[in-house]
Symmetry: T
Subunit: 69 residues, 12 copies
């Protein structure tokens, strides 16, 4: 286990519901092309405002996955 | 569209419910005096603890709005 | 009140539900051995991914409490 | 001179031409309502891409001005 | 108390005497137009040098105040 | 629009002319394999020096593009 | 001397007098339970404002002490 | 040479031996799919602990390679 | 597994041999009073110089361990 | 080539024309006393404002040069 | 005035009295070999602890001076 | 001892062997012109890649030395 190599990719997920849902949307999208995802790191929380309200959340996330399988 | 000028203001919203609600409270408050808000950036998440529990969330947020209309 | 001394400890809470719950779990755990907790600062939001989904959230949090009572 | 007080405001200027022009647009806009501007600090350089080209530059800038006159 | 909204403004105070006095000068100046100031955060300590000596201190400070009263 | 997912890639463009041209070279190169680019973020400005002069500029840039089309 | 191990703890000291006194209050408090303190690192300077004046200073400080005696 | 474009990817290498070996493992893995690698930047050093000992090192590394050949 | 709580402590290990050995010395020292250590994060690499040579390495490290057993 | 030692110095160049010219002015000045300059890193972009306009740009730059020839 | 070039050097001053005096000691020392010093930037505040008290303050400071006279 | 003044210089050492050796090469080089070096701080770890392997390590290091003897 000590010699695994991981790659990180950086996504921005968005959602009208909240921070966690925006991240989950990004992970779900990534799951269609990346296997063996292991962890995520949130690095930015932003939001889009329309008509004086938060219209949707945009959350930057790095996703780490195993390269060696 | 390429020559818009935006101003950012920095608020701290709070809520007993959670991070998103604290931000929404800040945006709602700002909407009473600022028009044309476009986006927000969360820059700090804190909380107040009372009796060993999170009593309310305090979330720092920068809000960007258009200056040119 | 102006001469209080506070200590900060650093925890990582986790939860399958979301960011706030992970923090609350950390605060609840700390409440068993630390009294007079006053505030928290979130300094890291991560998550564990299993089978292409966010399995649980891991949130780093600094907790400040009064030393002087 | 040693007892001046300055205030900083944060703007985002944009321009199709480049970084300096985006900053100058922000300063020009600010000059309509703020007097006694003294200095600026660039804190972010972004750009909007359309059709595979940089359509305009967006530059975050803090502007300091004297409060005491 | 959990639903307060705060605004932060950013000032630079200066003083020939020292860091604390520069901050106090900024706070005093702000008190003429802002009510309900609650806290400050020092984010930069600089100084102006003349004739090989520190002529005055320049201290960047963010000031938070309540918006809701 | 609120459920878009974006990916960010990190490039370093270079140019003998200046910062903007180095970024534009990176964006042009990326446009050959990436569609739907939306924005860029400059995160590093460096330069190569030869014979006591700036020979070319090297600018680090993150480029965000839509994943969902 | 090269194989010493140090531990760092994080405190916040406060004082009505100024930054140095707030740190000294934190160090004095720590001296009641920690021996062999060696150095400190200031990582945050804040203040509490009451009635438009700085009421007291709050200074975050990390304190390093030897574990091996 | 002044118009090269580089891409950076982010990996995490691991090794039971040490920091350099963890990086070399990441570079070796990358060499199987990426050509023209030019430089690396270490951005994180972590380790996994088992039974009170460092079981393996995990080192985050950005790798830059030429896009234009 | 999703509801574990971890605590982080911050140590500085030193060694005449190198960075990894300084970390291992810190972990070994911690193992005498802390059980269930899981991971470490290096946050600072310094060294002491004597007679124009590196006499020993000093490495700051955060160590995370499980609180819940 | 692998055993070169470099020194970095930190300058601030200024120019009425723009960011690149301010850097080039700093490099040109340095070239009068430093040989074997290899690269530069921009670490700060500021500007001086007079009469509501950017009067000149001030750009902080680190310059690396070879020590071993 | 717009084409001045400045150099920055980095010192650490110390003093038993406090932060400002430590900086002033550094500036006074620099004044013996550097002319035309213009400004300073504090970048680190540390202290040495002896017998449970702050024995002296150590303050990191960057000093900028004009190169062109 | 409390009134020492230190100067910091910034070097980049390189080595085919590893991080520590790159630092030691920088310190050895500095020792030819600087006396009374006291400590070092690593601020950057990079590497040069050739033929898919780490060809040499490049480590940025700040070195502090006493000015007052």
């Amino acid at each position: 286990m000590s010699d695994h190599i991981y790659k990180k990719i950086e996504l921005v997920g968005s959602s009208t519901e909240g921070v966690e849902k925006a991240v989950e949307n990004a992970v779900e999208k990534a799951s269609k092309s990346v296997r063996n995802m292991r962890w995520l790191e949130v690095n930015e929380i932003r939001g889009h405002i329309e008509d004086g309200k938060v219209a949707h959340w945009q959350v930057g996330v790095k996703i780490g996955f195993t390269l060696d399988e």
